[in-house]
């Protein structure tokens, strides 16, 4: 990640925030607006960050994964299901139920990743097709089970959506969260904090451990890696499944941290935007996180503008329309992929099945 990319990211975020500050200045002081924008940006970037990390582990080992969207959708559903199952059927307290939900989400991600690994590594299916299969399968299974469990009278929940055990509680980071006004930024929910820690851990693992070196070797030149005794197939399987765990954690964000409910197709393309963040971040954890923050900022921009709706001046009336403002992350993704901000290079063996 070079300075040019970081400055573009900073510039986009500054522009988005400035617009909101200019519009909202009659309602709140700039510092309050910026603080709340930053807090929202960091929070909503969570699934994108985790999705991008998932993509990095898969692709650094040489497996393209466009099934992250489906993995997150399935994880969001099964994590949520596990949490309400624990809470309403086994009468377990909300917090342990939610933690069980997070574990279930991670495992769901891992299971779907295992399927992707089998398809793309063992059966050498075209990896983009394999990812699409995962996406379609996730939509089908979650749609069917959602209907079967919550809308059919004979089901265990009696044909209605039970009360969810809420969302994961906020964690105030000691000292930092006590800063007046700005402290709000350090008052976040656990998955958001976990995502940031995982960015650091992923960077360390990929670039400072033997595991990371082997992973990258397998993704760049599997034949050479094989020649020096690295088990290419094992490394690819392991990294795709690690990626699945990360995508599963990202899925948990939707139903266990953001809002306590599930609806079909709720991931809304976030898995694909995460891939764009991965590409823009040049397959590096910190770069991907920075890119995820841009998308987070564009979403925070949209959320805040809705709150300031009535004070938007007449000449900027188009900003009142949620559908138009909602285009921002998608258009941003396409602009980034054009490579106007410099080309990126994927791992050399990305997407190529390994034949001995």
């Amino acid at each position: 990640m070079d300075w040019r990319r970081f400055s573009v990211i900073a510039l986009v975020i500054i522009i988005l925030f400035s617009v909101v500050v200019l519009i909202g200045k009659t309602k709140d002081t700039p510092i309050v607006i910026i603080t709340s924008l930053l807090a929202t940006t960091i929070a909503v970037a969570t699934p994108l960050t985790l999705g991008a990390l998932s993509g990095i582990f898969c692709e650094r080992s040489g497996v393209v994964n466009i099934g992250i969207e489906g993995m997150m959708l399935a994880a969001a559903f099964f994590g949520w299901l596990a949490a309400i199952y624990m809470n309403t059927i086994f009468k377990i307290a909300p917090l342990p139920s939610l933690i069980a939900g997070v574990v279930a989400a991670i495992l769901t991600g891992g299971l779907f990743a295992l399927l992707h690994a089998m398809l793309s590594i063992t059966y050498k299916v075209d990896q983009i097709i394999g990812g699409t299969v995962i996406n379609i399968l996730a939509v089908g299974i979650t749609g069917f089970m959602n209907r079967q469990l919550f809308f059919e009278k004979g089901s265990i929940f009696g044909g209605q959506v039970p009360h969810a055990p809420g969302v994961l509680p906020r964690i105030q980071i000691p000292f930092l969260a006590d800063i007046p006004v700005m402290g709000r930024i350090f008052d976040q929910q656990p998955l958001t904090i976990a995502a940031i820690l995982l960015v650091i851990v992923s960077h360390y693992v990929l670039f400072h451990t033997r595991w990371g070196l082997r992973t990258r070797a397998v993704g760049e030149h599997p034949r050479a890696a094989d020649a020096v005794g690295i088990n290419v197939i094992f490394m690819r399987y392991a990294n795709v499944i690690i990626g699945g765990f990360l995508a599963g954690l990202g899925g948990a964000y939707f139903t266990l941290e953001s809002v306590p409910s599930f609806e079909p197709l709720l991931t809304n393309g976030r898995g694909f935007i995460a891939l764009a963040a991965m590409i823009f971040g040049n397959w590096s954890p910190f770069g991907a996180w920075a890119a995820a923050l841009v998308f987070g900022a564009s979403q925070a921009f949209q959320i805040k503008l809705q709150l300031f709706r009535e004070v938007i001046p007449a000449q900027w009336a188009f900003l009142q329309n949620a559908y138009i403002v909602g285009l921002a992350p998608y258009i941003l993704t396409m602009l980034i992929l054009t490579g106007i901000i410099g080309k990126t290079t994927p791992p050399a063996a990305d997407g190529v099945p390994y034949e001995k």
Binding site: I129, V133, M334
Partner: protein, 379 residues
């Protein structure tokens, strides 16, 4: 000189050969469908239903009567167009996940021409002008929508997989905006995000009185034949397939690769747009928000099940349409939610994509050639 009989015998054997190769090409898809239905039976069993009863209901609902056939054809019409769209792009080495957005734009434009044009011109248009105009403009909207990611791919290398998906969300937002705002049906009883009904002159007539099957289905079959002719009997088709098989070789052979990529995407979007336009003018007579959702993925599954061949796409479309149509009867008979069909269809796609699994289970030997569909980010 060969005698007539020899020629006859040779023709016979070449016909047999083609029949045999068609048969072996269909073997894996057919086995994939059967396997998926077997796994689906387990799912139905676990959900507390009787699989035999469920599949009987499915078949009855899909093909059990003249009305069932008509409804299956109605379902199949957009599937054929959208499936052809994805299949054509695959032939050119492009993965169009954006059929959904292109379809939505085709539908919204056809609906707009259908209801607004007579009022704007303040004359009632004859059907011979109005209907083709609505379809052609809808189709062009779809083509344009797909040409954008095509051009981005050709000139900047931005991968079409992510770009077409982004274009889907952009289209969905735009259509939501239009159907909730400027194009919303102003009828005081209406609370849904939908357009007004289109004029009589913009509607495709039904084939048989009393059935919903309309001439759009026949058009879909004709278009499938045209796509086959285009791909295998024209220079453009040869160029598309060459670029799809090997863009570097195509470049050295003097084919304008960039132009071909954009053209392939535009034609793919044209077909997807046609799915939307025909659905509006032949069946719904308006565009409603949410109608387009799910077609993009279904179209991919159909194109892959049909092995990206137009005839295969038609057969796969009729199968998927039958499942969707018969699903309601199945739900009525066994209380199994119709959504189980999505699971079975996803499994079909899984087994078609991973044909190695099917070959392993049924001990079918691999055919020489493998379908090359997409390339990674660098491609």
């Amino acid at each position: 000189m060969e005698s007539n009989e020899e020629q006859e015998a040779r023709r016979e054997s070449s016909f047999q050969k083609r029949l045999k190769s068609a048969g072996s090409a269909m073997l894996v898809p057919v086995l994939a469908v059967l396997t998926a239905m077997l796994v689906g039976a387990v799912v139905i069993l676990m959900a507390g239903g009787n699989p035999l009863y469920a599949y009987l209901g499915l078949f009855q609902g899909a093909f059990g009567s003249a009305k069932a056939w008509s409804e299956t054809a109605v379902w199949a019409t957009p599937y054929i167009f959208a499936g052809l769209a994805v299949a054509l792009a695959f032939k050119g080495g492009l993965f169009n996940i954006g059929a959904e957005g292109q379809l939505a734009l085709g539908a919204v434009v056809a609906a707009w021409i259908g209801y607004a044009l007579p009022d704007m011109l303040e004359i009632s248009l004859p059907a011979i002008i109005h209907l083709p105009l609505a379809i052609i403009l809808g189709v062009l909207a779809g083509a344009l929508w797909a040409a954008i990611p095509g051009a981005l791919k050709a000139y900047t290398g931005g991968h079409e997989v992510i770009n077409t998906i982004m274009m889907n969300y952009i289209a969905l937002n735009m259509v939501s905006f239009l159907l909730n705002g400027p194009m919303k049906d102003k009828n005081p009883n209406n609370v849904i995000a939908r357009t007004p009904e289109i004029a009589e002159s913009a509607r495709i007539p039904v084939i048989f009185e009393g059935f919903r099957i309309h001439w759009g289905f026949v058009l879909a079959l004709i278009v499938a034949a045209i796509v086959w002719w285009l791909l295998w009997k024209t220079t453009l088709g040869f160029e598309i397939r060459t670029v799809g098989a090997n863009p570097d070789a195509a470049k050295y052979a003097g084919i304008n690769v960039k132009r071909t990529i954009i053209l392939t995407m535009a034609m793919s979007g044209l077909l997807a747009g046609m799915a939307g336009a025909i659905e509006v003018s032949g069946l719904n007579y308006r565009h409603e928000l949410g109608f387009s959702i799910g077609y993009g993925f279904d179209a991919i599954a159909i194109a892959l099940l049909g092995k990206t061949h137009p005839l295969g796409v038609v057969l796969a479309s009729i199968l998927f349409a039958g499942m969707r149509n018969g699903g309601t009867r199945m739900q009525f008979l066994t209380q199994i939610p119709v959504d189980v069909i999505s699971v079975i269809q996803a499994l079909i796609l899984l087994f078609v994509a991973a044909d190695a699994i099917i070959r392993y289970i049924y001990r079918v030997r691999a055919r020489e050639e493998r379908l090359v569909l997409t390339r990674g980010w660098g491609g």
